[in-house]
Symmetry: C2
Subunit: 307 residues, 2 copies
């Protein structure tokens, strides 16, 4: 990369075409930290009084997010969920080792580990094989388990904010998919901040405006070891198809993804799109087994997995 | 094409993967006519009592539409607008000849011709060069002139419905572009039927569920001569970029375009998306020069072109 850092003239580690901004190995991580702080304030995600639980998978995004929040001095602890995914490559074991390694280097923050196999008796692949929801792909089961457990741990341990490392590429792929299907209920819930509601912690995505290559470069420059492999079950996922298509659009029009997502947020705020729906009260009641709010008539979807 | 017609076993002229339907040179045009009638009724576009003005450009879609409406026995006359586009290939002259040729073969319908150069003194390329609106690309000027003149002629000659030959590929490309930019006002107006309002004729797109290859095959099989060239100014248009991207998605997932458009319509109807906005009354008043409704403080945008 022949570019020079805009701030000091040293060789750049990244050139962000959509911002017309190239930065070096010192100024780029500082920029990520500043921008994250700016997004946290702009979108009113949380303050220094909040207790934040960061969902860490061992991947670049979540570890980078935890790293940034610790640097900024937030009360940000980690939560690792052992999902029992091996598939011959020891995926869960390796990702857990990455998270534990990171946590050991950051003693000012706590790491909570929940092993799903130990706690509930089976990992994601087994549950998926056994249940209707998991037919074909375990991703739906995995998403359900993660949402439930993250919220449970947050409530039980007194965290009021759940932070995930979703980046712009993740968010745009989901937005694109929901838009192509015009799934209004999903679109209504798509926002970098979902407010706290009775029984549910606030959910925030402080990295939602960073491209994947930016979080990857950040992790690299900061020397954060992370698991490079994608989850073995993600192969052929629809979002990966859309990610490739969106990458092509981004290559043709730098900033296309950011523009798509930000104009969606603007339409929500300025035009009141989807807000009516968001305000509709769902008929929630506590699950008789786990106590988390559910719309299901009997046990919640999570508890039904283990029946 | 090795496929056989589903209805008679003769060689098929088209295989519509999204419908899993192959048809021969006899059953395909009959299917187009039936489907058009079905869409006209399903979306309450018009009845046999309405007087319909079909905007004919000389291209396959609009001539095919006129052909179908005549076959179905609707009161459907044609309107050709001479836009004064030559660009060394005699584009307007050739397209006019195609329309006149078609009209001569269908004496039961009338053809109205408005020559913009004769009527207003300049063609689209000249007006575009002269005005701010035409800077760079004449397409915006051309769209404005066509909308204004189509509506003017409909009102002056007592047609209450304006029909255009937009096909699914056209509509989806526009929907895609408006969605990527989340242009709520444009999205609110995107529908195969825009109801009549004071000063504006109803606007309908009876071909909005046909793919471009279907209308092209229909024109071919029916022996309709049409202008093959795209408008010379359309080269590099953003919608063409999106059409290519959408073609790629369609190739990967047959029916993707139709699904995208129909789920948009469903979200509008079932979920009330954009309807609030549609109902908002615009502050319209008659243009002091031409009398057509406008939101502009003085002359309407069309009349300002000629000042």
């Amino acid at each position: 990369m022949p570019r020079k850092c805009r701030k000091c003239g040293q060789p750049a580690v990244i050139n962000m075409r959509q911002h017309k901004l190239a930065l070096c190995k010192n100024h780029f991580p500082a920029w990520i930290v500043e921008q994250t702080e700016r997004f946290i304030k702009k979108y009113k995600m949380f303050t220094y009084d909040d207790r934040i639980l960061v969902a860490v998978s061992g991947g670049k995004d979540s570890l980078a997010l935890w790293d940034v929040l610790i640097q900024l001095g937030y009360q940000a602890d980690g939560l690792y969920l052992g999902l029992g995914i091996d598939e011959g490559i020891g995926y869960s074991a390796e990702s857990r080792a990455m998270v534990e390694d990171f946590a050991a280097k950051h003693p000012q923050a706590r790491l909570h580990i929940i092993d799903i196999v130990q706690t509930y008796g089976q990992g994601i692949p087994e549950v998926a094989r056994r249940t209707r929801r998991g037919k074909g792909k375990p991703c739906s089961v995995c998403g359900l388990v993660k949402r439930h457990e993250m919220n449970r741990v947050a409530r039980e341990l007194g965290y009021n904010v759940l932070a995930t490392g979703h980046n712009l590429d993740d968010e745009v792929a989901v937005l694109f998919q929901n838009t192509l299907n015009w799934q209004v209920e999903y679109l209504a819930r798509q926002h970098p901040v979902l407010p706290e509601t009775p029984g549910f912690a606030r959910k925030v995505k402080p990295f939602f405006r960073f491209y994947e290559r930016e979080t990857a470069t950040y992790a690299l420059v900061r020397g954060i070891d992370y698991i490079y492999e994608e989850c073995p079950f993600s192969v052929g996922a629809t979002t990966i198809y859309y990610k490739e298509l969106l990458n092509q659009m981004e290559a043709d029009k730098p900033g296309a993804k950011l523009h798509f997502y930000l104009s969606f947020l603007r339409a929500r705020e300025k035009e009141g799109l989807f807000t009516q729906r968001q305000e509709e009260k769902l008929d929630l009641h506590p699950c008789p087994k786990c106590g988390q709010p559910t719309t299901a008539p009997g046990l919640c979807a999570f508890c039904r997995l283990w029946e």
